[in-house]
């Protein structure tokens, strides 16, 4: 059922496209406007990805492999931009620098929001790297920089590629930031054409093109992954690699990291603080803010519960059984990652208008959209936490005379509970920040923080938008910090390993 939920919107899109006249479709596709959009979307995605890779790999290397001071703080600072929704960042930049609208603004805002997608996996890969390989290379007479290029970097490739994939998918599907920055990509034009006309063909065609582009990127990434293996061979405890002293480049390194943190975090914070202080002189529309908070809480809370209920069986199944069916089920739920929210939202609109008008613009429909969007998050969390209890625990429990259902209750669920709770919290936060689907599907008259921010920003009442931006940032950053701290504290399986 969870898989069906995930597949429904895309299936509907395909069905609509299949029913339409192919000639009309083709005419739409080859329209200069469509092709221009293709160019601008792909161009933006490519530029943002390239900039993010440079920023992410550079930051990861500086933080993980050199002797810079304050590595832990830099590490947190480099991950934090991820917590700021890109449309909030876009709001803060455009309100501070109104000239930034367009391509350059979109590149700056999206790169600064997305580079942690590259930074985090690359830093993790650098930490896991077996120093013996670099040492072997050095012992064979290869210098430190040549070793980095020839040994270290190739091993980082899967991590960097995975990060780059996320960045390009995020950029292609981003709606809020490009809209606020007034740069036309697929998502923005799909939304405006849906909003302004009753002919749904252009929106469907553009959605189809967008989905195709994302599919091409996903497939291309899978192809380039190649066949080399990157795992450590053999056993033995991994040691930490020696860190490189930067010498005279030190100051430049601090400067670079500082500039990154200042632009990615400082600008949003300062800009927001400025507009908040300006706004205080006007009246603060408290009832309206409270209504938006309430709406956000209801939708995000409901979305988190619904999503987790659907994710539980899929995640448990995927963690326990490796087979074709569980694999397919799991992969189906991952569509939410690859298909842009605007496409999912629109297909739900079309579907309900035609087959279930009673659901059109209702809370359940929004919750359904959240489930499609955030199932990957929830399934991943359930799967990872079910892996906290390896099958051997269940086997031992059964050998001690407990029936499968009792084992689930006394062993599997208690072990997985913290992870499931964290997963629910993650979905809750993600839904709280979600803009696109909420904007398209929310019941008339219902407000959320994201919708208020969007509405106020689009009429350029930045001071009125600031409180919502501040609340969204609060909602995003604080729990991200708490979750990160929690994850570090629970050792999980590491505790199980023999200590003798």
């Amino acid at each position: 059922m969870a898989a069906a939920v995930a597949l429904l919107p895309l299936g509907y899109l395909v069905a609509v496209a299949a029913r339409a006249d192919p000639a009309v479709l083709l005419a739409q596709v080859v329209r200069p406007r469509s092709l221009m959009l293709l160019g601008s979307s792909v161009g933006l995605a490519a530029t943002v990805t390239a900039v993010s890779v440079v920023l992410g790999v550079g930051a990861a290397w500086l933080i993980e492999r050199t002797t810079l001071r304050g590595r832990r703080i830099w590490g947190v600072l480099a991950a934090l931009p991820l917590a700021i929704p890109s449309y909030v960042a876009a709001f803060s930049w455009i309100s501070a620098f109104p000239d930034l609208a367009g391509f350059s603004g979109a590149v700056i805002v999206l790169s600064l929001s997305c580079f942690p997608y590259v930074y985090l996996p690359t830093a993790a890969a650098l930490r896991r790297l077996d120093p013996a390989m670099e040492e072997t290379s050095r012992s064979l007479g290869i210098g430190p920089y040549a070793t980095f290029w020839r040994v270290t970097l190739p091993q980082l490739r899967p991590a960097v590629a995975a990060g780059a994939l996320l960045v390009s998918l995020y950029t292609l599907s981003d709606f809020g930031a490009v809209s606020i920055l007034r740069y036309d990509t697929f998502t923005r034009v799909i939304f405006t054409s849906f909003n302004s006309s009753f002919d749904r063909t252009p929106a469907v065609v553009l959605s189809g093109m967008l989905v195709l582009v994302t599919a091409v990127i996903v497939l291309a990434e899978a192809r380039t992954r190649g066949r080399a293996r990157y795992a450590r061979l053999g056993s033995g405890a991994a040691r930490l690699s020696a860190r490189i002293s930067l010498g005279r480049m030190r100051t430049a390194a601090y400067g670079g990291l500082g500039l990154l943190a200042a632009t990615a975090l400082g600008v949003p914070l300062l800009s927001m603080a400025y507009w908040l202080s300006v706004g205080r002189s006007g009246e603060l529309d408290l009832p309206r803010i409270m209504a938006a908070v309430g709406g956000s809480l209801v939708l995000a809370g409901g979305g988190a519960v619904v999503t987790m209920l659907l994710a539980l069986p899929v995640g448990l199944l995927a963690a326990r059984y490796t087979g074709r069916l569980p694999g397919l089920l799991e992969r189906a739920t991952y569509l939410g990652h690859a298909v842009p929210a605007i496409v999912i939202a629109l297909s739900l609109v079309f579907f309900t208008v035609r087959y279930a008008f009673g659901l059109y613009l209702t809370v359940p429909l929004v919750l359904f959209a959240y489930a499609v969007l955030f199932l990957p998050l929830a399934v991943g969390a359930v799967r990872a936490s079910a892996a906290q209890s390896p099958p051997v625990f269940e086997e031992v429990a059964r050998s001690l005379g407990r029936r499968p259902r009792q084992v689930l209750r006394t062993i599997t669920l208690p072990l997985a509970a913290p992870g499931i709770a964290a997963g629910t919290a993650l979905v809750f936060l993600a839904a709280m920040k979600e803009l696109t689907a909420t904007l398209v599907l929310h019941p008339t008259g219902m407000d959320t923080l994201a919708i208020r921010l969007w509405t106020e920003t689009s009429t350029r009442s930045y001071a009125a938008a600031a409180p919502y931006a501040a609340l969204l940032m609060l909602v995003s950053v604080v729990p991200t910090y708490l979750l990160g701290r929690d994850r570090r504290r629970t050792g999980g399986l590491a505790d199980l390993e023999p200590q003798a």
């Binding site: 051997v392 625990f393 059964r398 050998s399 005379g401 029936r403 208690p414 505790d495 199980l496 023999p498």
Partner: protein
């Protein structure tokens, strides 16, 4: 009555046969060790006994009751077994007390029995610890106590000591086997470590290529292995060419008495354990007439000193080389020695398979 009786069990994974017509009987109250190289299928056998896998053919009886066979499978929780996996796998969210009590349900003597089995493994004082507060050896002992607590008909241990380091292994092993004996448990232990199998089991079943090739008490398995493969697997083996006549093996190292059952007269291979060799100095002295028969002249070469004893590489006059274990390594470097063999040896005739006849 056999506590465990396995007969004619087959098991394949896909097209790869893992167990081939395997049979094994374990007597009530004894500890059996299934000894085999990695990949021989011993873990699969254990999982079939536990009920985590179903055999393709054959029958498994525990305490006389059929638990797997043509008529179906008894699920693991109704087999009255105790299972100790490799890393112990204590439930990380439960204290030692609740781990050990897990299989006891709401029995009245629950807390008494928990302390009783923990006492058997010497850890009653740690009853309120959490698993991560225990050392590896302690975790393993608690895992055994947990398996023993419900008084299972059969305890199954999957390489339970291999994750411990060498110093700890011997100690934990003796505590655990003493505990199982004190509790009167019947146990099947799977291992690739011959020392472990020989030292703590009443019955050693040597497993190769998916079947049991020999099942006997440890001394018999070591001293009278059923074939050369078994011989080489359970300990160091020296093989010399021999001619068998009338209960003796004529070899380069002398005329050696054969252990029953005797091989047929003719040529074959004699198996000598390195510690059967007696090495003495030959500085011009005459051949010592020992109780083991006349010694032969040889040259001692390279030696590996192992602490408790030493291994000497000895060249015979024919150029053949044998390894001898000696308590006294003697001076380093090449030196002339007398070599004799103490105790009977085993004879195997050659063939496609060096089967003892």
């Amino acid at each position: 009555m056999s506590a465990l009786s396995v007969s004619g069990v087959d098991k394949s994974f896909g097209r790869t046969p893992v167990l081939r017509h395997l049979s094994l009987d374990v007597a009530q109250g004894s500890i059996a060790a299934v000894l085999g190289p990695s990949g021989c299928g011993k873990t699969t056998l254990l999982r079939i006994l536990a009920g985590f896998e179903a055999p393709d053919a054959g029958e498994v009886r525990i305490g006389g009751r059929v638990v797997a066979g043509p008529s179906g499978e008894v699920p693991p929780e109704r087999r009255a077994i105790g299972f100790v996996p490799q890393e112990g796998a204590l439930f990380p969210h439960l204290s030692v007390r609740r781990n050990v009590g897990y299989g006891l349900g709401r029995r009245g003597d629950r807390s008494v029995r928990v302390l009783e089995v923990l006492d058997l493994v010497g850890l009653a004082h740690l009853v309120d610890r959490m698993p991560h507060e225990l050392s590896g050896g302690q975790q393993q002992r608690v895992a055994v106590a947990r398996a023993l607590a419900p008084r299972p008909a059969l305890v199954l241990l999957d390489e339970p000591f291999s994750s411990l380091d060498a110093g700890l292994r011997g100690e934990v092993r003796s505590v655990v086997s003493a505990a199982m004996r004190a509790d009167g448990a019947t146990a099947v232990l799977v291992t690739h470590d011959q020392e472990e199998a020989l030292s703590c089991a009443d019955l050693v079943a040597v497993m190769q290529h998916g079947g049991i090739v020999q099942a006997a008490d440890p001394i018999t398995v070591y001293r009278a292995p059923s074939d050369l493969d078994v011989a080489e697997f359970v300990g160091d083996a020296v093989k010399v060419r021999a001619t068998f006549t009338g209960g003796f093996a004529e070899t380069e190292v002398g005329r050696l008495p054969l252990r029953a059952p005797l091989p047929p007269d003719g040529s074959g291979i004699a198996l000598i354990r390195p510690e059967q060799f007696v090495v003495t100095n030959r500085n011009g002295s005459a051949a010592p007439s020992t109780e083991y028969g006349p010694a032969v002249a040889a040259t001692a070469g390279q030696q590996s000193f192992l602490g408790h004893d030493a291994l000497l590489v000895i060249s015979l006059s024919s150029g053949a080389v044998v390894t001898a274990r000696s308590l006294d390594p003697g001076p380093a470097g090449e030196r002339p020695v007398w070599l004799s063999v103490r105790g009977p040896v085993n004879g195997y005739v050659r063939g496609g398979k060096t089967q003892r006849l």
